[in-house]
Every structure is written in C-alpha cells, then in structure tokens.
C-alpha cells in the first residue's frame, strides 16, 4: 500500500513537468509562482547555445528599447560575427605576430565563397553589421582606458572584425565557388579597394595588439606594391602574400 503511494508520487513527478523546472514560467507547473527570465538573460542563453538568430533578434530589440545601453553592443557584434562564420575562439587565439602574413592568418580562420557558396554575401553582411554595431558606440566611450569592461572588448573586437571584414571582402575577388581564383581580382573596383583599405585602417587604429599591428603592416605592404591604383596594389599584395 505504501509503495503504491510512492509510485503514484513518482508518476506525478514525471508527468507534472518532465525534466523542466517546476518554477520556470516557460513550461513549469501551472499556477506556481514562476520565475521569468529577462530578455537579456534569454539572449545570453541563446548565445551560449549557438542560437545566434535568436540572440541577434533579442539584442536588437533590447538596443532599440534602450539605445544608450552600450554594454549590449559588443554582445550583438559578437553574435553577428559568429553568424558570419567567424569562430571567436580561433580568432582570439590566432598568432598574428608570427611569420605568416595577416592575410594568410586571417584567411585560415574565416569562411570563403568556396566554403559558403551563395551564402557568402550574407556572411559578409553579417561581418559588416558586427563592425557597424561596434562603431555605433560613441568613440569617446571606446577608450582603452575606460573603466567600463565592454569598452576594452569593443576595441579588440573592432580590430579583429575589421581585419576579418577586409579579408572577407578581398576573398570575393580571390575565391570562386569552386576554389582559389585570382583572375577575379580584375573585377575589383576603386570602391571595393577603398572598402578593404578603410577596414584595415580601422583595424590598425583601434588597438595596438598583435592583430592591430598586423593590420598596420598589411597597409604598409599594400602601399609598397606596384600599381597605379589601390585596386591594383591590393591585387598585387594579395597574390604576393599567398
């Protein structure tokens, strides 16, 4: 008889809310006093779970509601960069100060038109969105000496993402969907060259770390290449560096 009661109790336990928390507002026991997570908490859970679409949507909503909540901008930028295909662990641990050029190092870490195919333009847009999100933080608040923790993160992220964006943009003209194809470089316009250069300049100016120095070295190397235009110099640098 007593065991029967225990079995009934176990059955109730299993069927009441399965493996969910009894006090979670999402799926807990009905009528219990539940705990509602905030939108930011849900965004962090989505980020950790790799659900970047949800994280981006929630963080965008939060920033729209409170545009001066700048501590959320680096999180949103990281989510955009992640969705573009950038693996943050790889990029943070990459050795930009080694013998390899910035182009070689970065190329090994980011997607190319060959790996992504038709999704590459979207990936490039996401990386651009990551940069624009960070640049929306007022420059005065992006100081390396700021006591705000997010400021240092924003500066480092700008360096990494601007470098990544420059190389991803260049890869439009060096990779086709079937592989490395430098013949595409002839299609690079002056506007394309300006976009690549401005990203490298922004990366080099943001911080003085190894990645920033590598970006500055890349600019110097481009300027030292033969060619009448920036596009020709970038094309020459690209082929020389590879």
């Amino acid at each position: 008889m007593i065991m029967k009661y225990f079995v009934i109790f176990l059955s109730l336990l299993f069927t009441s809310c399965g493996q969910k928390n009894a006090f979670d507002c999402d799926g807990g026991i009905a009528k219990s006093k539940c705990s509602q997570r905030t939108k930011l908490e849900d965004a962090r859970i989505a980020l950790d779970a790799g659900d970047l679409d949800t994280a981006i949507r929630l963080l965008n909503e939060l920033i729209t509601d409170e545009p001066t909540a700048y501590e959320k901008y680096p999180l949103l930028a990281a989510a955009y960069a992640g969705r573009s295909g950038l693996e943050i662990l790889d990029i943070v641990t990459a050795n930009f100060g080694g013998n390899s050029s910035m182009l070689e190092t970065m190329s090994s870490l980011i997607p190319t038109p060959t790996t992504l195919g038709d999704a590459y333009p979207k990936s490039l847009d996401d990386m651009n969105a990551a940069n624009q999100t960070l640049l929306a933080i007022p420059e005065a608040l992006r100081s390396a000496t700021s006591s705000d923790k997010y400021a240092a993160s924003a500066i480092l992220q700008i360096t990494l993402y601007q470098s990544a964006y420059a190389v991803m943009y260049l890869n439009k003209f060096t990779y086709s969907t079937s592989g490395y194809d430098p013949s595409l470089l002839s299609a690079m316009t002056a506007d394309d060259a300006a976009a690549i250069l401005s990203s490298l300049v922004a990366a080099g100016a943001a911080s003085g770390g190894a990645a920033g120095s590598a970006a500055q070295a890349a600019i110097a190397a481009i300027q030292g290449q033969p060619g009448a235009t920036d596009a020709e110099k970038i094309a020459a640098w690209s082929q020389a560096a590879r």
């Binding site: 065991m3 493996q19 807990g28 705990s35």
Partner: protein, 361 residues
Amino acid sequence: MPLCHRFLLALLFVTDVLWAKGSAPIYEDSFDMGSGGASLTRASQAGMIFSNPALIPYGPGFHRWLGNETSLLIGKDSVDFAKSLRSSSGGSGSNTSEFVSKVMTTPLHAGLVNNFAYINSLFGFSTFSRNNFDIAAKKYGDTGLPAVRLRAESYQGVALSAATMALTRAISIGVTAKYLYAGEPDLAIELTDTEALQALQTPSGLRSLVSPNIGYGYDAGLLLFKQGYNSDFRLALKIDDVGGTKLAGDGSLKLLRQTYSGGVGYTLHNGTDALHFSLDYRDIQKAYDEEMFKRVRMGAKFIFRQHLALGAGYYDGWPSYALELDAWLVRLTGAMYTRELGTKPGLDPRTIYALGFTMGL
C-alpha cells in the same frame, strides 16, 4: 599566451574555492538532496545536525549513529565531456584546439563531501567538509569575448548539537553550535584580459581567492510531532545562523545571514515500511533575496524493510532522484539532482550525480 595555457593557468589557482551562500544548509546528505532537499522534518543521520537539530530525539534507543559518510559529486556535463574525450581520443582531430573548444562549451563541476558524526538521543557531534568547484567557460562572455567563470564552495568545520523533548514527545527543540572555515570564491576572467590573469599570480590576488574565512555561529530548530498508528505529522521551524554568523579573514564571504525556515511532513508507515512526504519553505523573509524556486523544496522518501530507500522530489525546482542500499555497516547512495547556479531557472543549471559510501552503525 595561448588560450589553453591561460585556461590551465586559471585552473591552477582554483583549488579551494563556491558560489554565494544561499538558503540551503551548509551541509546536506546526498540522499536528502536527491529526495528534493526538504530535510527540515526528516533528515538522514548526520544531516539532522545541520538540517534541524530538533530531529535528534526522535528514533529508537539512545545510540543513533556513529559513522562516516563520503560522497563524490560530479556534474553530468563533466561525465559527458569525459565520454566525448574518450571517444575522440583515437581520432585524428584530437588536439589542444579541440579540447579547448569542448571546454568552452562544457561546464566542469565536481565535489567531495565528508562527514564523520556521532549522534545519540540527546546530542550530536560532526566534523565535516564540503568542497565543490565549478568551472564554466563561455565562448561569448559578458562582453562578447571568451571568458571563464570559476566558482567554488569550501566549507569545513565542526558542529555540536543538543536537543530535548520539551515536556511531551510532541515537541522537540534543538540547537547546533558550529565552527566554520568557509570560502566562496567567484571569479570571472576574460581570456583576453591579461591584467586579470597577472593579478591572480600575485600573493594578495591568490590570498583573496583561496583563503577561507573563519567564524562560529548557531542554529535553532523546533519540531512539532503528532504520531498516529499508521501516520505521523510533523511541523518544523528553524532559524539558521542566529543573529548572523560573522566570518573573519581575507576571503570575500563575511557573513552568513540569519534565515527563518518552515517545513511540514507527513509519514505513512507500517511495521516495516515508511513513506515520508515533505515540503520546506526556506528563508521565509528572503534574507538572501532568492527566488521561490530556490527556497521551496519538496519530495518523498520511501523506506522499504529498512534496507532500501528511494527518494524523489524537486530540488531547486528541478526533478531529483535518490537510491540508497543499507547493508548493515555499509550504505551505498546514489543521487541525481540539479542545482541552479543562476538566479532564475535555466540560467546556469548543473545536473549532479552523487555517489555516497557510508560506514557506520
């Protein structure tokens, strides 16, 4: 410095380190935790000293318990992590990068709990230690860059309880005096933050992380007990850390706050078996400002022929289960429960397996 080196460096400094003390007792028996953690009206042996000393007078005979209990705690994620490492160890992709990548998505949780206690119908004595650590690395930390959060719980000490039935068997009061070494380091480090890592290598930085604080405090409990032929009813009230337990030392944990808790229990029994339902409502005045899911514990314990016990309940709002086999001098316990390390359900849960080995009589 490579990421894996930073991570391993961080691990070196976490040997004796817990998250902020909440409404839970400083020591809980594994079986009690797997049974939902509602232990104010019924607790296992040494657990009585910490859960509610007023439980001590109830039971057969004068001598109640002399023995040692050791429990190994390990996070389910850690077990899954170890399995995945084992399965990938022969593959060509097994390298440091893969290891770090797995570490960044898998919280590591482990602990060791020990308790030696003697209890009779008048008083109880216990020496105990509880050490848990939790390492949760996140690919996207607080600011979007990889970060590691190191948390630990370290509680050691001695506790002495005395209890008596007041005039009648229906009312019992008990007190516990405890002398504690306690530490709850909680450190979040971004792996790109070289300054924070360097600060850890200084004597003062280390001291604040690993030094336990020391103090003594008191708990008081009351139990109302109505015994029937086939069922019992229990009502418990408990004050933890009467007046607040102050801790001195270099660590950050300086005070265990006074909390009031209440519990009800109902037991069905015959000559050999018993089924106990219990519900605890801890920290009634919200001294720790915890949400309801952490303050309400509920569950059931089924004791079959004195040798087999099954438990189930809700611990921190999550389902929990326990099994105990009692072979006279030796007792084996297995439990599974989930602790929520965050402030809301689902933010930072850790499902924990507990394996207990007890010798005593």
